[in-house]
Symmetry: D2
Subunit: 402 residues, 4 copies
């Protein structure tokens, strides 16, 4: 019953605290040095993630909604803005890893300051009705979901930095255990979907990103989709069959990528004394044949599927079938380019830069990974990366055209 439930503002406070605390918890075993570096442009320093998510709340909620709010430091907007051209100048993405200041301690002080003021704001708003409530709620939800997205990046970025250190340090992150159940222990069942018109896109009362809208009809041809992900063991067969040496399996760009970067296995795999080892946050481990293959690019996923005589699902096939199979272990490459849905509209102002401006030359991933915060994703969620990216927890599901 509505009458006995907590007022929504209490709910706000709890959710805010949980999200903010989870970010800090991911970092609980880090050394100060681990917060600082940026080995490649894709991988931002942990320090930057902590500051940037804080800057987001400060800029989009405290400044417009908290009366007499004084920003923590006038230069932090320059340091912690990511790509919002609307907000002004920003440190070049590739220079984030050169900043030793503000220190980790100063960034945590920034977080505490913004947390305190945001709790004041949330508490204050609880007492009364106010004019721009819808706008506030929308920005607050985006702020929380935005920080959850950066939690996943924190994990993947830290794994990249630690996994490219010659000492291969073991550093527990949240979730403590990035392993997943043994995939091929599950009996294989194909998921078949008949052809017809299906509805795609988010529907409901809860939060979704703008790129999941508008909900719309699509026509789907009949297909059978694998109930489980491709395993390390299956992928190793591809390697051993010379999959990385035969151009026939590859898209032209993928083949160039393989040759230029001398790709021979998924990211984090190392051949040691004739066996494959895998860097995990627990250190180097022998590759587990029964787990889903991970850290592959779209090029590799597509080549593997072609080699098997199958293909990747479109994002629409995936969404239509998603209630019939377990997912959430790994982000799954689809064969769909990241493009606007019919009826997609960009929001006004800086928030409108969130998704729409990246809709070219990227591929959609569906699902979630062990690094995704619980409850963050949903079956209409559209993740997206360039076809050569591998530092996310990305896997492969196969489809057969019927």
């Amino acid at each position: 019953m509505q009458s006995v439930s907590a007022p929504p503002q209490t709910h706000w406070l709890t959710r805010f605290r949980n999200v903010r605390q989870r970010t800090a918890a991911i970092c609980r075993h880090l050394k100060t040095e681990d917060y600082v570096v940026q080995p490649i442009a894709d991988v931002s320093p942990a320090k930057w993630h902590l500051g940037h998510t804080t800057w987001f709340f400060e800029t989009f909620l405290l400044v417009p909604f908290l009366k007499d709010y004084r920003i923590f430091h006038e230069d932090y907007s320059f340091v912690f803005n990511s790509y919002y051209e609307t907000i002004g100048k920003r440190v070049l993405r590739t220079d984030r890893g050169n900043l030793t200041r503000p220190t980790v301690e100063e960034v945590y002080a920034y977080r505490a300051y913004v947390n305190n003021h945001l709790e004041d704001l949330l508490t204050g708003l609880a007492a009364k009705d106010f004019a721009r409530r819808n706008e506030f709620e929308s920005l607050f939800e985006i702020g929380l979901n935005h920080e959850e997205q950066h939690q996943e990046l924190l994990v993947t970025d830290l794994k990249y930095t630690l996994g490219h250190n010659p000492l291969f340090p073991a550093v527990p992150l949240i979730p403590d255990e990035l392993h997943v159940y043994n995939t091929d222990a599950i009996a294989y069942r194909p998921v078949t979907v008949p052809e017809g018109v299906y509805e795609i896109g988010y529907q409901g009362e809860g939060f979704c990103f703008d790129n999941e809208l508008a909900r719309h009809k699509t026509y789907i041809q009949p297909f059978a989709l694998s109930h489980r992900l491709v395993t390390n063991g299956e992928y190793q067969e591809f390697i051993e069959a010379g999959g990385y040496q035969d151009f026939n399996h590859w898209l032209a760009e993928g083949w160039d990528w393989v040759k230029q970067n001398q790709i021979k296995a998924p990211l984090y795999w190392h051949p040691i004394d004739g066996k494959w080892w895998n860097y995990t946050t627990e250190g180097l481990q022998p590759v587990n044949q029964h787990e889903p293959v991970c850290h592959v690019s779209f090029y590799e996923a597509e080549a593997f599927a072609r080699w098997k005589g199958l293909r990747l699902p479109t994002e629409f096939e995936w969404e239509v079938a998603a209630r019939q199979f377990p997912w959430g272990q790994r982000w799954e490459w689809t064969h769909s380019a990241y493009l606007p849905y019919p009826g997609f509209t960009k929001a006004d102002g800086a928030v409108g830069e969130y998704n729409g401006k990246f809709m070219v030359n990227q591929m959609v991933l569906r699902g979630a990974s062990a690094a995704t915060p619980p409850g963050h994703s949903r079956h209409t969620y559209r993740n997206f990366f360039h076809a050569d990216k591998r530092w996310q927890f990305t896997g492969i599901r196969l489809v057969q055209t019927l």
Copy 2:
């Protein structure tokens, strides 16, 4: 009636001669030097186009089908192969413009030699039925269509080379006149299409490329499409309104492209004494406000559409509406990524490398241009280029979601 029609083999000979002669006709006003250079990787030397299309007929028709055929020169496969990994090593694409030998004269001798032998082959085959007739016909059709595609590239590549020469030489190409009718003289009529399930892809007896198949159903939301293309005059308003200075109109990659390359107008536009001039194969000309804008990238087309509060059509919308408006003046950027249709299958062997391996990170264009050989394109035809390419004759058609 079948009985009175010419035997198909006669038809073959006529078509073969016409296509081959048209290639040479494009080059009829060139100087020897014009055949040689490659100012950017996209732009191949005319000499290379002449040799490569010839090599295609030699490799895929003469060698397998003409008994005792002796190849013209053993090194030409290395020189004139384009991207067929199946066939063996090849000159790097970026080195094509460094080859002074074979000379233009030698390349024409190569063409004559292959033409003669192919006429022998076609004549010989006319007399009899033979085992691999279907395969032969398929490869022969591909050979002709392949050469027609290179005819368009010949025009665009030569225009690029001549248009980047400080002397801005006027050199007539085929078609002699690359201008088109005055677009805005046509009364504007929106083309509206109701929502529903539509069939997409090639159907019929004639030739089509593998990427136009399989024909399949798609669901389309209601839309209104512009009866005519965007004009130079309309595009100039975008420039004058500061369109190239405001990131809000642009995809993030597009905005980076604008800044890095200091893009300020369509390719070939030059500001001279306060007016815009346009390089054409007739030399520098004042920009004609009433012609369709041309030589714009997908980024520019998309930004312009966004600035107008409209959007580009998907390739499916375009195809469904295509019988209701005139097209063929300019290749038209669509908002669809180049991806396989449901049921697409790659052919075996080298011919299978024709289209499928390029299906990532490119955008589809529909229509045809004044440089497209007559009869080459059709309303299911899928052309494709990277989002930043401008040296093709590319224009803009707008759509409104209803």
Copy 3:
């Protein structure tokens, strides 16, 4: 008398402790984060300097001379080797700033461990005569001088990192005060040298680097050399006269460098509200007109001299005149390329890689800077950098041909 002087081994211990402690003292005000990053390839992380100088003593002194010595960590040779190909694989120079581990604390532990063992070694050797004493002394001297060189790099590299941080933090380094006396307060006196045969190169009992040998004769034309360095005020006149806009003053490579990098002033100079400010380790300061200009490239030094109608000294002119003017404020660009002296010989083994292999495409600098450890340099000392480098404390002295 020899008998009453301290045994040389005591002297060793004192010198060792002093040098090692001075390195730590430079870092005494750093935050942990300041030790980690590498904003450009030239600038190594402070952490790396601390580890590398320690690795040098471990590799060249403890391993060969201390019985039963156990190396601190088997992977540190890979992490802290710089360019000694003889010793094996090493982290690419450009990747040093991506290593969060070993941590700063671990690196200091490494230093303490090596310091303790080296003190044991030095004390042990004091008691007895031993076979490879000459070799030991030579390597020990190189180790100390090597660490002193890295002390200067520590200062310049930290200044670069801090000076490119948008917060422009003030962080005292050793020496606390990098300022120097007001140059133009000194009355100007030209130093004139008559032509003749002069001896060049080190002579004496003390330590020198191999590149200062062999001492040899050279013929010098008559010249007059400036008694003091060029000041900021004089250099600012060059800027205001359009010196960076007129190719006539520049070497061709220098002019390309100016245009490509949009150079408009010495490194660390910022135009703020119509005045020049200078980043120092005390933060941003107005440019002091009376101090020697600093952080200029060879290209700038040479262009300035040409603009003045004068020239830079050769390293031989500098050395011959060096006893007649004060030096040590700034490294001074000479117009001499870094090449071997007649009779130069490369030492065997890894130590032979110290200097000789860099003798191409660099220019010689003479003198010393405020960041140079006291007593490290001498008038035969040859420093060398590429012509475009500016992050060292580099200044300009002018010469007139007589």
Copy 4:
């Protein structure tokens, strides 16, 4: 007697005709296509050399000295200027190979036009004394020597283009025969020079370049120089001893260059069926063990010398000893950086850009090659190239310090 000798102006005319005709003679066997391309930035199109040398005479002699002279084409200054910033804008060096116009025929017409007018000018001046005679003579001499330098570049650039064509065409150039006498047939005699003060630099009445001045004294240590050049056979021993695999022989930059470019032998050497072949303008030929090694970089020359336990001569040693050994077969790398002599002064205006602005980061070569026009070089002549360049006819002479 002066009175019976031909007037100097007749001499001018003969010299002018000879030089200009020799340039055309080098090209007599070229196809039109061979004139056009630029496979690397260093290698200019033959067409450009023909035009640029003509532009030089037009700009520096006809325009200032021939009354009412009308320049041939107003855009040619832009097309054919090389690096003279004084003269105005110019086609970027890397774009020279993209220009199909002006055609070869047009360039020869330009040459004829300028030749005719220059002959008029020379004839006209013969009749009278005129005010700026010294200036005219100086520029005329530079024009002739400049064209001779481009004759050598014509040969080396054409060889590069033809030698990187997969057809390896044989194309006679001038000199018809680039081979040289069998070096090791000559009995070996060391040339020894005692220490002392020697004079360096040009002295006399004839023409020399500004970089050969001022003549000045230098002190030289005693040395013994090889009477003949290093042969292919000797260099092959270096290859077979693993010289390209052992970093110990190499300068650090040289070793990076070897690895990045996978250098394994001199330019134009190809391993075919277990033997070394050499591209020459006569086509591929087995490497002649007895000829001087050619087309090596400074890095290779220096590494070879080090491997032999010897060294390269300085340019001063070379000049002092030059009258005691035969030279002219190959440009010889010295161990001297290209720097101004004491008393060097840059000329005013565009001609002052000729040599001085390149005096950094290049090495001096002495001697001449079979491609050098007869009489062009002399024992004070200073040629210079970057340490990695190999497309000139460059060889090795060894020296021993005594």
